[in-house]
């Protein structure tokens, strides 16, 4: 069984030779290749080599385009910076508020160099792994774009106090989101992985989620011609799954660190895959045997549930994480399937 077959079997609630698993090793690829991060996050070939090295070393069942949302901010004009051991961060916002952002031109997904970089990583990985490993394009939902362009404060301010402006901005951003998502799929991505933190009531009020951000998300996802993984984005998700379940085209829900996989299934009901619940950044401080224990705890929580993918969540695995701690996940998964790592 190859990785694509394994993931499809999980989706279809069919048995697999071993549980599928995913590690968010977008940054960690640079550790394996030794690439400078400025190259890793600007040259598609360099990034793709990192994902190939991740695949060779740890055998995860899904690979991703760069987990690099500041690239989307850059497409609107907000600069980012990569420090020697960190994934890039948006360091300045190009517009002051939602009204100013409404005046910005929408980036062209077919010509902006950073968006082309994201797309080219998908093309390279697809050429290498077609029919073998699912490749997911990473992006953010329309409501999560403004924090990259005007900052979270200005966006929350608009959602709270200028709902008509916020609605206009969501309407304006949705076509861009759709263009980028469809382009990634046409480049060969198996599906998309995205966050929607501004639809989560950990971040916004129920009134905002119900009237603005969740409807915008539903409308946008309905037009995505491919499967979608819904990522918790750093917010707790399990208690909100009743709100998010049934989102159009969403085939998997990615829960937060340590959230209960069994509870997630009960809240979701049958159908979508549940992904989680290991901490990506937290691996840095864990010995391999501690990682093993967390994997086994996750397997216990999922019980007989076949629609489960063990995954690191939250942010990237840190670049100075010992490889042995990541390999412990591979080994735990193989043991769960009765195979050698």
């Amino acid at each position: 069984m190859n990785s694509l077959e394994r993931v499809l079997a999980a989706l279809q609630n069919q048995p697999t030779d071993r549980p599928a698993f995913f590690i968010n090793a977008s940054l960690y690829g640079a550790r394996l290749t030794g690439a400078h991060l400025d190259d890793h996050y600007t040259q598609a070939e360099v990034y793709a080599e990192g994902q190939m090295a991740i695949r060779e070393t740890f055998s995860p069942d899904l690979l991703i385009s760069p987990f690099f949302v500041p690239a989307i901010g850059e497409a609107f004009g907000s600069p980012w910076r990569a420090r020697p051991s960190q994934a890039p961060n948006t360091v300045q916002f190009v517009a002051r508020n939602a009204e100013d952002m409404l005046k910005l031109p929408l980036p062209d997904v077919d010509s902006h160099p950073r968006l082309l970089y994201l797309r080219e990583t998908i093309r390279i990985l697809t050429r290498k792994y077609a029919g073998e490993v699912p490749i997911f394009g990473v992006l953010v939902s329309p409501s999560d774009i403004p924090p990259l362009v005007i900052g979270l404060e200005a966006w929350i301010d608009a959602l709270l106090f200028q709902p008509e402006v916020a609605q206009a901005l969501l309407d304006r951003l949705t076509p861009f989101f759709l263009d980028l998502g469809k382009a990634m799929l046409s480049d060969g991505a198996t599906g998309l992985a995205l966050t929607s933190n501004l639809a989560n009531t950990f971040i916004v009020t129920e009134a905002i989620a119900n009237s603005l951000t969740l409807p915008a998300l539903q409308r946008a996802l309905a037009e995505i011609p491919g499967p979608v993984i819904f990522h918790h984005g750093g917010c707790p998700l399990v208690d909100q799954l009743a709100r998010f379940k049934g989102l159009p085209n969403v085939v998997a829900y990615f829960i937060d660190v340590g959230e209960d996989l069994g509870l997630a299934r009960r809240n979701l009901g049958p159908g979508p895959i549940v992904m989680g619940n290991l901490s990506g950044p937290g691996l840095l401080h864990l010995r391999p045997e501690e990682v093993t224990a967390l994997c086994e705890q996750a397997f216990d929580q999922r019980g007989e549930d076949r629609q489960f993918i063990l995954a690191t969540c939250s942010a990237d695995i840190q670049i100075d994480t010992p490889a042995e701690s990541i390999a412990a996940i591979t080994e735990a998964v193989c043991r769960a399937g009765g195979a050698e790592a």
């Binding site: 420090r83 404060e153 916004v204 009020t205 840095l284 840190q318």
Partner: protein, 231 residues
């Protein structure tokens, strides 16, 4: 029946109703003063709100906390207007320094903390985002602050807190200058506060006042006469 302004204000904040909250405060301050409203109405309400927020229950979102900080700023603006026409001024509890650590560009939490601290009478020196360790300690020394509040959202940037700890220690200010830490990463992993050399943290922005007071008292206990212009 007499109005329960504290309960009304708490309810308005919990519903993210900034205008409603300001109307409650306006009504309470009629015939009194806005500076009195800070201590007798807003402070106890924010304390109750902070308790609800820190439990993770009660449906308090980041946006609700943001509204609370805006209401605090609104009241402070009224206090400043009042102080131009009367004798009412916010009480000073001494200077404190806040900022986002080097490489951190997530200002919202820090701004909320600054608003709540100002409401509580602190003289807040807000250094903004991407603040170096030297900038934090230079400013604290210059203004005589007993507490630095450093904010970080992610683990990668939170590691730069260690540089502030080292800078404080290198200048012989350990104990005299206390280091408060805040931000999402410390809320999720409070053990990092000690790992990175912090002296304390709070579960929510509203509770920063109590934390800073605890740390200030600790500093005064350890070094009653330290620093230039230290109150």
């Amino acid at each position: 029946m007499e109005r329960n302004h504290t309960q009304e204000l708490l309810s308005a904040i919990q519903h993210a109703d900034r205008a409603g909250a300001n109307a409650v405060i306006e009504d309470w301050a009629r015939g009194r003063s806005f500076s009195l409203a800070v201590t007798e109405l807003l402070a106890p309400t924010l304390e109750a709100f902070g308790e609800i927020w820190s439990t993770g229950q009660g449906g308090v979102s980041l946006a609700t906390g943001y509204v609370a900080s805006k209401v605090a700023e609104d009241v402070l603006s009224r206090v400043l207007l009042e102080s131009d026409t009367a004798s009412g001024v916010a009480p000073s509890r001494g200077p404190v320094v806040v900022g986002n650590v080097e490489d951190d560009f997530h200002p919202l939490g820090r701004k909320m903390v600054a608003a709540f601290l100002r409401t509580s009478g602190w003289d807040v020196r807000d250094l903004g985002v991407d603040v170096s360790a030297a900038q934090f300690v230079d400013t604290a020394e210059a203004c005589g602050a007993r507490v630095i509040g450093a904010s970080a959202m992610m683990y990668t940037t939170a590691k730069n807190v260690r540089k502030i700890r080292e800078e404080i220690d290198r200048r012989g200010l350990r104990g005299k200058l206390q280091l408060a830490l805040g931000g999402a990463v410390f809320k999720l992993r409070p053990e990092l506060v000690a790992d990175f050399g912090g002296d304390g943290t709070a579960a929510s922005a509203v509770e920063a006042d109590a934390l800073f007071e605890t740390l200030r008292q600790r500093s005064l206990g350890l070094a009653p006469a330290c620093g230039r212009r230290t109150p």
